[in-house]
């Protein structure tokens, strides 16, 4: 019983960290309101 809980907790931690990594480093923002302005200014 305790082993199952440990496996659940550890996998939850792994999934959470992987998700964090994905959202912070990989995912592209779907909407980017500042981008258009930024592009014009960088010209």
């Amino acid at each position: 019983m305790q082993e199952i809980l440990v496996i659940l907790a550890v996998s939850a931690a792994c999934i959470f960290l992987a998700l964090q990594f994905y959202t912070k480093f990989v995912r592209k923002d779907a909407k980017c309101e500042g981008c258009a302005v930024g592009k014009i200014q960088e010209k």
């Binding site: 305790q2 550890v10 964090q20 990594f21 309101e33 302005v37 200014q41």
Partner: protein, 649 residues
């Protein structure tokens, strides 16, 4: 219903925001940009409204990154945050300049509410506004007077909001904005607006002429004095850090030992088993490791927001600008660098106020060298471990001085690195300052309390979750290992103990160490040991170094986990006592002065924060800059620590 809150900087916009929303606030980001978005809710007569706080600007046309969000949201009625109603906070003591932004927003055609703020200051300056007269120039707008700093006008403001929300206003035709890159169109607009505003001022403003309106306040004479100005700034910083160290120690000790006792009690009460072990040895120390430096974060933000609220911080920008420029920085870099003392993430985001690309880039690159609060637990633990608790000259706490020294080391290296980068990066155009120095005000404790509360909350929720997940993972890695090597090592330890005729307790100690050493994390620590041996570290420190690449504060949590797992006796000793007792195989202490100092230096320099890297990547929009950052900070850390170790041992 969405309500946007806009206004010039230093008009008391955040006081107005706090006045109507109280503690019902949330901090997030505007979609796609990392500009901080504060939203709050207010309820009037059963209706709920969402108030969105926009960055303070002088015009709708942006001049720096954080101001772009105002233009992009208000110029696009499809935008997610496009408001149904706009509240513009107007500083009554400076009506002419404030009306510029107000008239721009009014012309967008949205229902607009003007909050005439700072009535007290205006009155003191002999300025009186004829509100009815003013209203004739903006017939569809409502005008409310408040003095948000002292909480005056809340009822009036709430009633006006409800009024405007319920009224069906006749649709005004918006006057189109100039394109964001058409400066001559914007200049023409500006001239036309000021001609219009002149008429308004003549009609609705009466000013009691004093002998001479402009004078330099006594405080300014002091704060920008050629010698005293810098001495005062240095003294303020020094006092702040001494206070943080002295005041935070008590609650930190309390939290630290509280969690140790709690873990102890829990391990007695829970049924034995691996999940109980996970709770007592992984989760509880993990949470404790996060909460333990809440007092310091709270104190640091408490002091920073006092400096900001009083208006002193902008004087610091003013006196530092000329000194920062040869280093490729801007006077405004002082604020990001100071914020980085709390956390590099808001620091990097605060660089958005720096309009010049090169000055901004350099500030971003060196900001993480400032010692952030995540390093505080590492510093405090190591200082308490290897630095004696004595005083010099009767008043200066040596531990406090070492802490001050570590912060100074971070600052000096940040400045030197900046000067170096300035020579490398090619600039596109000249930077500018153009900063308003707001009048001095006494701090409003309510506003400061809300700021501190918000920062602590974000820290506990954001950093805390990651740290907790990492400590669970760490516990698993420290508990399990390749089964064969685990079995062999335990058998070996048992045999050795039998041959040496050890007591039962000593045997258990040996077995526990053997387990730890043959766990996954033990293998990992041993794997990198050759690399870190020149710095004076053993494999256990190596483990903590690896894990703290996710976030520095994990260092302490990892050590807690490692030493807790390693424990055989029942007494849950405090981490520092365990570390003090830690011996190498040859019987010498692990945490000598040299090794401790070397670790401190390593933590001053190393770029060990995933969250900061992520922000730098987003802010610079490329992988190049965060990679450069890891590279040069890593090299500084490794060689700095090595030199320290050899000098002291």
């Amino acid at each position: 219903m969405k309500i946007a809150l806009l206004g010039n900087p230093n008009t008391g916009k955040s006081s107005v925001f706090n006045l109507v929303t109280g503690l019902r606030q949330q901090v997030g980001n505007f979609p796609g940009v990392t500009v901080e978005k504060k939203t709050g809710t207010l309820q009037i007569e059963g209706n709920t409204y969402t108030l969105i706080d926009f960055p303070g600007t002088y015009s709708l046309y942006p001049r720096s990154k954080d101001e772009q969000v105002v233009y992009s949201v208000l110029s696009d009625n499809e935008a997610e945050d496009y408001p149904d109603l706009v509240i513009v906070v107007v500083d009554q003591s400076n009506l002419e300049r404030n009306l510029f932004l107000f008239s721009q927003i009014y012309d967008l055609g949205l229902p607009t509410l003007m909050v005439l703020n700072m009535t007290d200051l205006a009155m003191r300056n002999g300025i009186a506004v004829d509100v009815d007269q003013l209203n004739t120039f903006f017939p569809s707008a409502q005008i409310v007077s408040t003095n948000a700093r002292v909480g005056m006008g809340k009822e009036r403001l709430m009633m006006a909001i409800a009024d405007m929300a319920n009224a069906t206003l006749e649709k005004r035709n918006p006057i189109p904005l100039c394109p964001v890159d058409d400066v001559s169109c914007q200049e023409q607009e500006a001239e036309a607006r000021y001609t219009f505003i002149k008429q308004i001022i003549t009609a609705s403003l009466s000013k009691v002429e004093k002998e001479k309106k402009a004078s330099v306040s006594k405080l300014d004479r002091l704060f920008v004095h050629p010698v005293l100005g810098y001495i005062i700034f240095a003294a303020i910083l020094f006092i702040v850090f001494q206070f943080i160290f002295a005041f935070a120690a008590v609650p930190m000790d309390f939290i630290d030992s509280g969690f140790a006792e709690f873990g102890n009690w829990l391990s007695d009460s829970l049924p034995t088993g691996v999940f109980s072990d996970l709770i007592c040895q992984g989760i509880i120390p993990g949470i404790g490791g996060v909460l333990v430096f809440v007092p310091q974060i709270a104190l640091l933000f408490f002091f920073i927001s006092i400096l900001e609220e009083t208006g002193y911080l902008s004087r610091v920008v003013f006196i530092m600008d000329r000194l920062m420029r040869p280093l490729g920085l801007n006077g405004k870099s002082v604020v990001p660098l100071m914020s980085s003392v709390a956390c590099a993430i808001p620091g990097v985001m605060a660089t958005r106020t720096i309009a010049d690309w090169k000055e901004r880039m350099i500030t971003i690159l060196v900001a993480p060298l400032m010692s952030c609060s995540a390093r505080i637990p590492v510093y405090t633990l190591l200082i308490a471990l290897v630095i004696p608790k004595t005083t010099i000259l009767g008043i200066f706490n040596v531990q406090g001085l070492v802490l001050f020294g570590l912060y100074s080391l971070g600052l000096v290296s940040a400045l030197l690195v900046a000067a170096l980068i300035k020579l490398i990066i090619k600039s596109r155009d000249k930077g500018f300052l153009m900063l308003e120095l707001p009048s001095f005000k006494s701090p409003r404790w309510g506003n400061i309390g809300i700021t501190v509360w918000e920062k602590v909350k974000v820290f506990i929720l954001d950093a805390g979750k990651v740290i907790l997940a990492i400590s669970i993972l760490l516990w698993a890695l420290a508990t399990y290992g390749p089964s064969e090597s685990m079995r062999n090592n335990i058998a070996k330890a048992k045999n050795e103990s039998k041959e040496l005729n050890l007591t039962k307790e000593e045997t258990n100690q040996r077995i526990a160490s053997a387990k730890m050493e043959s766990s996954y994390i033990g293998h990992l620590g041993h794997f990198i040991e050759p690399v870190i041996r020149p710095l004076g570290y053993d494999w256990k420190i190596g483990i903590s170094l690896i894990t703290s690449f996710a976030a520095r504060e994990v260092f302490v949590g990892s050590l807690s986990t490692i030493y807790a797992v390693n424990e055989t006796d029942d007494v849950n000793k405090r981490l520092i006592d365990k570390m003090r007792a830690e011996r190498r195989a040859d019987g010498t202490k692990v945490y000598t002065l040299a090794a401790g100092a070397s670790l401190m230096v390593f933590y001053v320099f190393a770029m060990q924060c995933m969250a900061t890297l992520a922000i730098v990547k987003r802010e610079t929009n490329s992988w190049k800059w965060p990679l450069i950052q890891i590279g040069f900070m890593g090299a500084l850390a490794y060689f700095g620590a090595m030199i320290t170790f050899y000098t002291l041992s």
